[in-house]
Every structure is written in structure tokens, then in C-alpha cells.
Symmetry: C2
Subunit: 280 residues, 2 copies
């Protein structure tokens, strides 16, 4: 792998470029983004040059699509005509079924979906950091058997390990079901909680009395609608299922609490919270 | 204020002692705790000596009750006979109505309820740190007018500011209503979410795919039942009200999402999340 094209040089794309460099990648990194973003990415030495999509595509051994989901879905079909032989196209989108379906239509290049479980409040190339993926799961969603066995896929997997991420393999459908629970449900709960408190008649006192727990609990509510619009649109059935599960559990807990103790609820909650901290 | 007695030298009590020292308190700090905790607190130089409650009470200008709520409720009546004239008794319990009622029965000493909005996963005196309260709200709940105007209360308020905390004054009933929303509701949502995911048939994959959002969302679920038993028992009506508000909002969001977009929900959630970060 000598040339990498990052399409969408924001927090994730920029961090992937920095992570590759820190892991010893000595080749060329091309950025495909708006003029303003390219100028910033060049200034921060995150990319070596900025090029239009088609020119970048013709030179790249790895094409890393790091924009929002709708832009990934629009970009994939454009890559069929320009990709080099043996090149790999991958993405960092937060849902995978629709993207995998678009990737499966490619004839001239291999597509392998991916989803790094990393992020932070700040966005944009100026927030990029080379350690963003370190110790975090990196979900890979091959659409067909053998997709991980090609030379390009094996090399990409090697770089994922080299940047410190923990690769995990799921089917695209399984991925969307899992992240509906592990990521999309927590997002909607944080958004709902924050809205509930913001609409409360004493919301100013609530904000003034906020401790670290509430700060953590409302961090996801800072996420932008521009990103979440696409996620919610492309994963509706699984997210509805996760919401229903949670609401039923919250109602049951509420009913138990009205008349009894919640010791078992606390024990179960703690058990999973510890388990996920030990699953690394 | 020359002598401070910390009753219950755990995370909060130990941190308060360290914070006082770092803020320049030059007097004596007595610890009242189990033998094992006193030995640790002496080793870490958090307290100057360990004494039984009554002896500590007789010497202290400030008695800081930092144990669990039930132990605060049991301790308050014992202090009436031993407190020095002009001394102040305060506490750091997470609910305030029942504690304020117990304090109001004291004849020999002034009681002023308090609640530092600080904490972390780790507990016990070995987790104590002098900066724990820095930048955090410190809720004060005077039961009667003038309670903040006595010399002892004024001096205590000065130390709260000196340790970097931000004092906020609420009535005990208002406090319990506010923290039901700002603290107890987020706790129960984290516990419920963690339980929902832990009971899911694919919980191992969910844990393996956890990103920083889920780690934050399940942090409160690590809290111990021993602390929460008392909180849930002494603030049931307000917590039930907060749960009902949230569940109704979650159901409404679920219904909207099934047929439309959630842009307004995200905007409202973000608005409050930003607001509470700017309320400092």
C-alpha cells in the first residue's frame, strides 16, 4: 500500500491519516475534501496533497470514505470506473447495510465496510488525533466470505492493528442490529434526557446543580443532527426495536421502584457495565 | 475554625480533608471511621488523628458528616449533647429533606445541610483527591432563614469557595426535586440501559462493539447499591415524577421517529447539554 486517499478529511478521516503516519506508513496520503478543509489538512500536515475524487481514486491503493453516510452512498458508485486493480475501498460510516449493498454493486474494485468505534464532541480536521482509534473496537463488515482474505484486505487489517484498534468482524445486518443497541440507543437516551431536563420548569436550577454524572449523561446530546439524520434514516427498524426494549425495561423498573427495592436492577446494570469494560 | 471532624473518611470525606489542607487550612483534622479506614487515612496524611465520635464532637468547630444517608441520620441525634458552642454540623448526603428534618431537631448545635456535586467510580479513602470539588456545584440547603448568616456558616461558606467549589443555595425540598432530575434520573437510566444490554441475547457482541459513548452512558451503572438504597428510599416521590417525565418523553420520541424526523429533538437536547456546560 503506497498511496491512500482519504475522502472526507474530518475528525475520523484526519485521525486515520495521522494514525497511519504514527504507525509508520511511509507512502502518500491524498485528501479529497472541500477547499477549506484541504487547506487546513495541509497546514496541519495531515495529508500530502489535495486532489479531486477521480484523480485521487486513480492513484490510491486504499480509498477511505470518511464522510457522512449519504455522501459515502453517493461516492461509492463513482469509484467503479477509476479504481486501480487490487485497490481496496473502505468506509467509516455508522450504519452498514445500505453501504454494503452499494459496495456490492461495484465491479472494478473490492469494497469492505468498516466502522471505527471512536469519536468525541469536537469535530472537523482540527480535532483529528492519531491516537483516536487506540484501544477502540474497529468493526469490519465483509459482505461475502473471502472478503477479508484478499491481499488488499489483509494489508488493511494489518494497519488497523498497527494503529492500535481492535478489529471485530460482523455481517452488515448484524452490525446494524448491534450498534442500534450499543450506540444509537444511548444517543437517543442522552438526547431525550437532555430535552426532558431542558424543558423542565426548573431547568436552570437543574443545570446549575449538574455533577459529573449529568455531564457524562448529556455528552452524546451534543452530537450534530447532520450526522444523526443519516444514521436514523438507514437503521430505523433496529433502532425502534432497541428503543422498545429500553422503554419496556424503564417502565418495569419504575413499577418495581414504586413498591420495592431495585437491588437486582443495580446488580445487573453493574454486571454489564463491568463486562464491557473488560471486553477489550 | 481550628478543628474539623470528618465523620466517615471515604472518597468525599477524605477529599474534603485534602481540599481543606490544599486551600490553606492549618488546624487539626480528626477522622471518625472504622479502624481500618483511620489507619489508611493516617498513612496517606489525610487526617491528623482518629477518635471516637463523641470525643471528636467535643473538640470540633466543624463536624462534616460524609457517610451514607442512613448513617448521617443515625449520627445527627448523637451530636446534640457533645457539640461545642458555635460549632457547625454539616453533611454531604445526596438527599436533604430527611436529613434537614433530623438536623432541625438539634438543640445544642447549628445544622446546615450540604451536597457537593462531585464523585467518581472509585470509592474509599484511597480514592480521595483534593481537587475533587474544584469547579463543581456545592449545594447548600439551609432549613431556615439566617442559617447562612451565623459566623460558623459564613466561615464554612468561605472554605467551600476556597476549595474551588461553586456554592448554590436551595431549600431541602427544592434540592431533592432538582437532584431527582439532575442526578437520580440519570443514574436509573444508566442502570436500566446497562441491564437492557446485559440481558440482550447478543450482549457479548454489544460489549465488544462498545465505543466511548456507551462507556460514558454506563459509567453511573457502576455505582454501588449500598449508596443508592438510601437515596432511592429517601427521595421516592420526586424520583418517580422524574422517571414518569422521562418515560413519557421517550415514548413520544419513539412515536415521532417511527414516522418522521427527530431534528427538533436533537436541537433541544443539544441546547440543554450546552446550557449546563455553560452554567459554571
Amino acid at each position: 500500500m503506497e498511496t491512500v486517499a482519504i475522502v472526507g478529511v474530518g475528525l475520523i478521516g484526519g485521525s486515520f491519516a495521522l494514525a497511519l503516519r504514527q504507525a509508520g506508513f511511509g507512502g502518500r496520503i491524498i485528501g479529497v475534501s472541500s477547499e477549506r478543509t484541504i487547506a487546513q489538512a495541509l497546514k496541519y500536515q495531515i495529508i500530502d496533497e489535495g486532489l479531486p475524487l477521480e484523480q485521487a481514486c486513480r492513484q490510491a491503493d486504499l480509498i477511505y470514505l470518511a464522510g457522512p453516510i449519504h455522501s459515502i452512498l453517493e461516492t461509492i458508485p463513482k469509484l467503479d470506473a477509476c479504481t486501480r486493480e487490487g485497490a481496496l475501498i473502505t468506509d467509516a460510516g455508522s450504519t452498514k447495510r445500505e453501504i454494503a449493498a452499494a459496495g456490492a454493486k461495484l465491479r472494478g474494485a473490492q469494497f469492505l465496510g468498516g466502522h471505527p468505534m471512536a469519536g468525541k464532541e469536537s469535530r472537523g480536521v482540527q480535532a483529528a488525533e492519531g491516537q483516536l482509534f487506540s484501544g477502540r473496537p474497529y468493526l469490519l463488515t465483509p459482505a461475502a466470505e473471502g472478503d477479508l482474505e484478499t491481499p488488499a484486505a489483509r494489508e488493511f487489517l494489518g494497519w488497523i492493528r498497527d494503529i492500535g484498534a481492535v478489529p471485530r468482524v460482523l455481517s452488515p445486518a448484524q452490525h446494524d442490529r448491534i450498534v442500534a443497541h450499543s450506540s444509537h440507543l444511548p444517543q437517543l437516551l442522552s438526547t431525550t434526557l437532555s430535552g426532558t431536563l431542558g424543558r423542565h420548569s426548573e431547568s436552570e436550577l437543574i443545570a446549575a446543580a449538574a455533577g459529573p454524572g449529568l455531564v457524562d449523561s448529556t455528552r452524546l446530546a451534543l452530537s450534530g443532527w447532520d450526522i444523526w439524520h443519516d444514521i436514523l434514516e438507514t437503521n430505523r427498524p433496529s433502532i425502534l426495536e432497541a428503543l422498545d426494549l429500553f422503554i419496556a425495561d424503564a417502565q418495569a423498573l419504575r413499577a418495581r421502584y414504586a413498591g420495592a427495592e431495585l437491588e437486582a436492577d443495580f446488580a445487573q446494570g453493574k454486571e454489564f457495565a463491568l463486562r464491557l469494560r473488560n471486553t477489550r
